[in-house]
Symmetry: C2
Subunit: 351 residues, 2 copies
């Protein structure tokens, strides 16, 4: 078996320099690089990444486990995926994408020994996949959190995010603020942690405000957004502002509100939380968004996992980053009650 | 080294059954699976995926090479990525994501011997990365095409897509049809193949129609879309319809048109080509789109590559699928010239 030392000797460089080139971990002068590549070619070192993996029982491959996202992935998901791949590459690791549809399939993939560690996306409050990860003894980090805050995770700080959104709306005078969340296939007690935590922060904020909470749960689609607009209008007509934790329903909520003869932000102020600036810009009027720190978190998740693998850290990483408020044109002062009444009369007159 | 045979003997099953479980290629009864897993655990077979890879000089890992997409990925990109990962998994392969920013980095990754084959995205008409792939002797398939149609590829059929879009607009009576494309960092002669081919199909269609072509190139952003709206209005005021080959500028074009006091589709009909239905639904009015076959093509790209690796095919695969017309509310009949004039006067009067 050809060793890295032999490549180094042939190319007349240090073993470290060969390693930099092979793992792509450090820039090497073009001429030196060319010499090393020639030596690799001559000695047919090609398959030795695998050989080294065997010798060290390390593969330097990480898995990103994600649910079947083929159909309708959110804009933020790709940011998580791509930034995790970047973060891994920068430290000389490769990221494989593992779409997993059930726990058994996941266990089998992990048992195959291909990966040194795993990242798990779309984590639920009680998540059997996390139990499988623990049982597999493959090191892991979560993008999201279960109930158990002691596991290694990176997550959006939904409490701080919702608090800031509520604070922003209150600064305009809103008191009747609804939360629109996303319907998932999970049983209620199994919900994604993000929905659970955002809802809890919202309920807390409404209690502090002394107002009854209004939570509407719809599909993450345009149709879902329209449904939310109708539900708010018919069942909670006093609502003057909405916080969406439902990226896919954002455009539909605005369209549905307009179809009811109402305006954003005239009749309803809207903040879309945990999404992208680009989504906000696409909608008319431009939405005020809480931009998700997905690019940062994907990278930090890869770092957190690699730190574990390389024994760099003492305690499991617990990283929380809130979303960033990006003001658009969808938040204004609430219409006064008599104005709303007048407007409703105008609409009924067939405007 | 523990062999698969030993695992099979310990679990009292055939080697094939052990292989099904390890590679996840076929369903195995839960009890049998449990027995095999217990044997794998007892014999510590964990790292042997790597050992097998060494023995066969195959890793069953494929790379998806993509440019640095961290910042502003399109909605269709994630569909390509996820469906390629699915397609690979279904045939017992793993897909690693390799963000590559330059050709050298790509060559080094390929020389590392980790992957059996590679998929390349965002292919340009003349693409030095393709030369690197050929030089690396790693089997590959392209998502997109260079000038050289003989290489293995899957691609959107941009000619058929643009022809259908033009035909749809002509059926409403449009003759003054502009094309809005996306500005890229590439040199003009190096453009993404999709832009080159779409533009060529558009020029051909305009020649057949006997109308001068109007091609406007802007950034793939909301600001870019607004710029396109202004450019069309100021420099090509006779334009009654636009085909966008610029997903990211779609919403901005509609917003920008409205800001000029014009309506979609009253004054300007719009078709956004090579994007998602979801994007069309988000915009007001809902855009007529040509939906990209990204979920199908990602999977077909993985299949095309794996067929090569497994010697299943005789000739390099050349797969072309057109986009699908999904009518929205953004296409209507062109306003008659005098109506446009009257309307412009009304606007000038301060409507």
């Amino acid at each position: 078996m050809v060793t890295m030392r032999e490549v180094a000797e042939r190319a007349n460089v240090s073993i470290a320099t060969v390693s930099f080139v092979i793992n792509g971990t450090k820039r090497v002068a073009p001429q030196t690089r060319a010499r090393i590549e020639a030596a690799i070619e001559e000695l047919d070192y090609r398959r030795n990444v695998v050989a080294r993996a065997l010798a060290s029982s390390r593969t330097r491959i990480l898995a990103l486990l994600h649910p079947d996202l083929e159909i309708r992935p959110n804009a933020t998901v790709i940011q998580f995926v791509m930034s995790a791949a970047h973060g891994a590459r920068e430290r000389g690791y490769d990221l494989v994408l593992w779409p997993v549809n059930d726990d058994e399939q996941m266990s089998h993939l992990l048992a195959g020994g291909l990966v040194d560690g795993a990242l798990l996306m779309e984590v639920q409050i009680r998540d059997s996949r996390v139990d499988r990860l623990i049982a597999s003894r493959v090191p892991f980090a979560l993008i999201g959190r279960t109930e158990d805050d002691d596991l290694p995770f990176v997550d959006i700080d939904f409490t701080a995010t919702i608090d800031e959104a509520v604070g922003h709306l209150r600064s305009y005078g809103h008191q009747h603020i609804a939360l629109v969340t996303q319907r998932t296939k999970a049983a209620p007690e199994n919900e994604p942690g993000r929905i659970m935590r955002a809802e809890s922060a919202y309920l807390h904020a409404m209690a502090a405000l002394g107002r009854p909470p209004v939570v509407v749960t719809v599909e993450g689609t345009s149709a879902g957004g329209r449904e939310a607009a109708r539900t708010l209008h018919e069942r909670f007509p006093g609502t003057t502002a909405v916080i969406l934790l439902n990226e896919g329903a954002s455009a539909g909520l605005v369209k549905g509100t307009r179809e009811l003869g109402l305006t954003v932000p005239g009749d309803l102020s809207v903040i879309s939380a945990s999404t992208t600036r680009e989504l906000g810009e696409m909608i008319e009027p431009s939405l005020t968004v809480m931009a998700a720190p997905a690019p940062e978190l994907g990278r930090l998740a890869a770092d957190a996992l690699i730190d574990q693998l390389e024994g760099v850290q003492d305690a499991p990483p617990h990283i929380l980053i809130p979303c960033t408020l990006v003001p658009g044109e969808s938040v204004g002062s609430p219409r006064l009650p008599d104005e709303t009444a007048k407007r409703a009369t105008r609409n009924a007159d067939g405007r």
